[in-house]
Amino acid sequence: MKKQGTSFAFRGKYLFLVVSIFYAVLFVVNSETALAGLQKSSAVLLKILPIIAVVILFTALLNYFMQPRQIANHLGRESGAMVWLWALAAGVISHGPMYAWYPMLDDLRSHGMRDGLIVVFFASRAIKVPLLPMMVDYFGWAFTLVLSFYLLTGALVQGWLLEFLERKELFR
């Protein structure tokens, strides 16, 4: 699945092909809607380009300063309790859509990062630090605090549960 060394392969070719065919058909049937869809997609792409640039840089820095063995030690099965809190913090401060982070997480996973941490990262992304004032404004302090507490606790429990489920299946 994972490309190593010099081998290179595109991923998601079929998804891209299906979406392209859908757009082509829509162009024939209703070109206005297809154009509007393309405009929306371009706007999304432009918006996440800086995030992708940051994620590429971050992945490169991680790979530069940490050898695969070190990544496995810090984020793998032998990692301690603190790494769960780091995953939680990383999820909270991460920006952009979830799929912008897939390549970095895929890279870390191929170096031994445990799946539970990925789940914690995704689950804690519901808290967006820059958007907290807006949430307080719309829903109040009490709601924001209670929701954040349950969200962070729930993210950790989800991570542990995923590993439990994976272990159960492993020993079946």
């Binding site: 490309k3 290179f8 392969a9 595109f10 991923r11 998601g12 070719k13 998804l15 891209f16 299906v18 979406v19 859908f22 829509l26 809607t33 869809g37 405009q39 929306k40 997609s41 371009s42 706007a43 999304v44 792409l45 996440i48 992708i52 994620v55 590429i56 840089l57 992945t59 490169a60 790979n63 530069y64 063995r69 859509p97 979830m98 799929y99 912008a100 897939y102 390549p103 997480l105 895929d106 996973r109 990925i118 789940v119 689950a123 519901a126 967006k128 958007l131 949430m135 719309y138 829903f139 009490a142 709601f143 209670v146 929701l147 349950y150 969200l151 729930g154 989800q158 995923l162 489920l165």
Partner: protein, 156 residues
């Protein structure tokens, strides 16, 4: 002929750190390899935003708190866009009398669940991981929505 083990130790390739430029190039190439995947998802997001408006989705609520929590979770998971939109819409839904259970579930699933990105998630992380993660996220979204609302009711 047997090789000298010491020679191997002296020249272990893993000990040699590649230049940052090379590592950056490798990371960029890895992202480039995922370009069709990301573009496919972005294409779907654009289509969805044009064909299905958030207001269209909001009209699906029924007024039953329990059913609305489930509907809120499903709508949030189906919708695509910036979380700011979910706050705006969530505030609007509350003003229209939709229960806090449903609105909380809607806000959470908007960010943590995504039907549109499921094909990409399966491609990157595999089917089993994607299934487990999404089931857990779905169950916890509803659980957290109920717990948050109940806690607020107890303390208000």
């Amino acid at each position: 002929m047997k090789k000298d083990p010491m020679q191997n130790m002296k020249h272990k390739p893993s000990d040699r750190r590649p230049s940052f430029g090379k590592v950056l190039q490798k990371s960029s190439l890895s992202f480039f390899g995922m370009a069709p995947l990301l573009l496919g998802v972005i294409g779907l997001v654009g289509l969805f935003q044009v064909l299905v408006t958030p207001k269209m989705l909001a009209s699906l609520f029924r007024g039953n708190p329990l059913a609305d929590t489930l509907i809120g979770t499903l709508i949030g998971a189906t919708a695509a866009g910036n979380p700011v939109v979910s706050y705006l819409l969530g505030g609007e839904l509350l003003a229209q009398g939709i229960s806090l259970y449903a609105v909380t579930a809607f806000l959470l699933s908007w960010v943590t669940l995504g039907f549109i990105q499921l094909p990409a998630e399966v491609e990157v992380f595999g089917g089993r991981f994607t299934l487990y993660r999404n089931i857990l996220a779905f169950v916890f979204t509803m659980l957290i929505a109920v717990l948050t609302t109940l806690t607020l009711q107890v303390f208000s």
